[in-house]
């Protein structure tokens, strides 16, 4: 099955985005004549594989290498580096070039920055006196379509950069990406933003539109109707809870990366030598996966079992009774889905070895207790014990941050005590980590009373009776907790910010609601409930489109919840999700942990 997802069913033409990126890359390579060695930043490798097949690269005489500290082994005279704009990567390139120089190799070097060059990086090259030797260019890859309704800007560190280092260049990057989308799909008339960073992105976006306007003919209705920007800062609770959807669990335990997971071949039932890794693609081109990815894992197991039994039944029927040709055809069609079945049965089996562990269930319990925010002492003691048992630092920090956020910080006495225990158990080098977390407001001492209980009640975040098999609310993705971020989106789509203004004020960051472009005169854009009248205008009967952008990352569980929302009756919108990166509690907290030495 293809690694690259099929985007034909996407609500807007995402294939064109991919093709454009592909064409730009090919052109870039064509301009360098002859055979060349393409050295790719390992972090970019995954994104590139979603855009272009290696076979196409080979057609253009390209040898592929990953960038590392080791010198490049190739016969090519032309070496093309494709890297993110990070000074540390510049250092690697420099050492590569110097190594060639000391061996007396004469090569031509090209450095292409993704998505754009920065002064800092060029300075590094200058300092090493290599500036004259390399040709510098840009490869403007701003958006990578991960699936038919999911786009990623691939900015892993955006959240930490903004909160800890005060580096907001990622916001510009996001605005630029949205602006690029507008060139293809028209100016988005309604914008709703919540959170500091979101409002800034909206500002930058307006400025870009003023400087470099997207011209849309007056009568054409833009393909995307509404843009909703949500800042991760607004809802840090959700990503820290363990996700319970199929795709979410896959990510928690096996780390989904650019639409695939890598795991031991033995898990997938392939007879191969020990320790061999294989890649399993996960996207909606896989019909079965599309059906079950967003469901609660409990249900997934049942469905897989049902399917397997029904297939077995078909098979026995087939062998016992005589069949007509058309029945045979049907059967063969069903057999075609067999490899997908086995794949997901294997994966589900592997996952349940994790989920059936008492420690996992205990952790879930604790997460719910913390979110309920009623028994402070129990939570505190649980975390204390985790630290003393030296459980993996990231697990501890996840719960600790969750605890700190729902309580708006810890009492000073407890705060200092836990900090000391942490340093004692995990070493003093984590001082910087603690400082990062404090700066980001994720783990701090209590300054005011927590308004989490109010928010929780007002937005109905904890739902007691959730039926995971036939969900009627988004709370099913966490078996009883409805993600705050998605509740906000729900309100934003339905009625705009106005009715929930009081609650928005309790959450961090400002909010904003504006209309743009020449649409202020068309009456029914006022709120989206009126948008149903507009649907008729959208060509070929498609539904109105909402683009939801998460700044600072989004989890698979939240994506599932959004898909669930847009599949509801009475929801007249398709949803496209864009994010700086698909994250989970682990990867998010990891960015704050400082690696020293």
């Amino acid at each position: 099955m293809a690694q690259i997802p099929n985007l034909d069913n996407a609500p807007v033409n995402l294939t064109s985005i991919r093709e454009q990126s592909q064409k730009e890359l090919v052109n870039l390579l064509k301009n360098i004549r002859g055979k060349k060695c393409l050295v790719v930043d390992p972090k970019l490798g995954g994104s590139l594989s979603l855009i272009i097949q290696t076979s196409i690269l080979k057609e253009h005489g390209v040898e592929l290498r990953h960038l590392s500290a080791d010198p490049v082994q190739t016969d090519c005279i032309k070496v093309v580096y494709l890297v993110r704009s990070q000074p540390s990567l510049m250092k690697l390139i420099c050492s590569n070039i110097q190594n060639d120089g000391s061996k007396g190799l004469q090569r031509e070097y090209y450095v292409y920055f993704v998505p754009r060059r920065t002064v800092v990086c060029e300075k590094v090259l200058e300092e090493e006196k290599l500036h004259q030797m390399v040709t510098i260019g840009e490869y403007p890859l701003y958006i990578v379509p991960l699936d038919e309704d999911l786009l990623s800007f691939e900015l892993d560190l955006a959240y930490k950069d903004c909160l800890v280092d005060g580096d907001t260049s990622s916001l510009w990057h996001i605005a630029k990406a949205i602006h690029k989308l507008e060139f293809s799909f028209g100016v988005i008339p309604n914008v709703r933003a919540k959170g500091k960073a979101s409002v800034r992105v909206a500002d930058i976006l307006n400025r870009m539109q003023a400087e470099e306007p997207v011209n849309t003919p007056d009568m054409v209705v833009p393909e995307i109707n509404t843009l909703i920007l949500i800042d991760r800062e607004v809802d840090m609770v959700t990503p820290l809870c363990s996700q319970l959807t199929y795709e979410g669990l896959l990510d928690e335990f096996l780390h989904v990366n650019n639409g695939s997971v890598e795991l031991d071949a033995s898990i997938m039932g392939v007879q191969q030598q020990e320790g061999k890794k294989m890649k399993v693609p996960l996207n909606s081109s896989d019909k079965l996966f599309k059906e079950i990815r967003d469901l609660n894992f409990e249900v997934v197991v049942q469905i897989l079992r049902q399917k397997a039994t029904s297939m077995k039944q078909d098979y026995t029927e087939m062998t016992t009774t005589t069949q007509t040709v058309s029945e045979l055809k049907d059967f063969v069609k069903k057999l075609n889905s067999l490899p997908e079945m086995t794949r997901h049965i294997n994966l589900a089996q592997h996952l349940s070895t994790f989920t059936s562990k008492p420690s996992f269930l205990g952790k879930l319990d604790m997460e719910h207790t913390i979110v309920e925010a009623q028994s402070y002492d129990i939570c505190f003691e649980y975390i204390e014990e985790m630290i003393q048992k030296q459980e993996p630092l990231l697990n501890v920090l996840r719960l600790l941050i969750l605890f700190s956020i729902t309580n708006a910080g810890l009492q000073k006495r407890h705060y200092d005590y836990l900090r000391r225990e942490l340093l004692h158990s995990y070493g003093f080098e984590h001082m910087k980590t603690l400082n990062n977390l404090e700066k980001a407001g994720l783990f701090k001492k209590q300054e005011s009373k927590s308004n989490w209980p109010t928010i929780k009640r007002a937005l109905q975040l904890v739902v007691d009776d959730t039926d995971t098999a036939n969900p009627n609310d988004i709370a099913y993705v966490f078996s009883g907790y409805a993600p705050l971020s998605i509740r906000l989106v729900q309100h934003a789509i339905r009625s705009g910010w106005r009715p929930v203004e009081e609650i928005l004020k309790l959450l961090p960051g400002p909010h904003l609601e504006t209309k743009r472009g020449g649409f202020s005169n068309s009456p029914s854009f006022d709120n989206l409930s009126g948008a149903s009248t507009n649907i008729a205008k959208v060509p070929d009967g498609r539904r109105a489109l909402v683009l939801v952008v998460f700044l600072g990352g989004v989890t698979f569980a939240e994506i599932s919840a959004l898909r669930f929302l847009s599949a509801q009756e009475g929801m007249a919108y398709d949803v496209i999700i864009a994010t700086t990166k698909v994250v989970n509690g682990h990867t998010l907290v990891e960015t704050f942990v400082e690696k020293l030495g």
Binding site: K389, Q390, H424, S425
Partner: protein, 126 residues
């Protein structure tokens, strides 16, 4: 500015990890501690830095006496565990009292350490 400076200092010794010259490193940390102490808000950081310096001294001594370079750069809990695993209960006790390790954590560490070396008798006894 002062704060930034002290952070730089606090970071430096970590960055120079694995250097055999522990003398200067300890001095550096102590200097960081003093810098932290200058401002009131950083009392916690100052104390942590002081403890770190003390820990490094003890670890250094332990490495000399046991002739194994396994102590430096591990945390207090790790140090205690290593001591117990090596059967050096006196040293473990000393680290415990030196840093006022709480009884709860002490018991966890002891249980873990004793079970790694399968010293079931000692585990039974305590």
């Amino acid at each position: 500015l002062l704060w930034k400076e002290s952070w730089e200092l606090g970071k430096n010794p970590m960055a120079s990890k694995g250097s055999p010259l522990h003398g200067p490193r300890i001095k550096l940390i102590e200097k960081a501690k003093d810098l932290f102490a200058d401002t009131k808000e950083h009392a916690f950081e100052s104390k942590a830095a002081e403890e770190h310096a003390r820990l490094l001294r003890i670890q250094h001594d332990l490495e000399v006496t046991t002739k194994q370079a396994i102590f430096v750069d591990s945390s207090i809990s790790d140090t205690i565990r290593t001591c117990i695993v090596l059967g050096n209960h006196r040293a473990a006790m000393k680290v415990k009292t030196e840093f006022k390790v709480s009884e709860k954590r002490w018991y966890w560490l002891k249980v873990f350490a004793l079970s790694t070396i399968r010293d079931w008798d000692a585990l039974e006894k305590f």
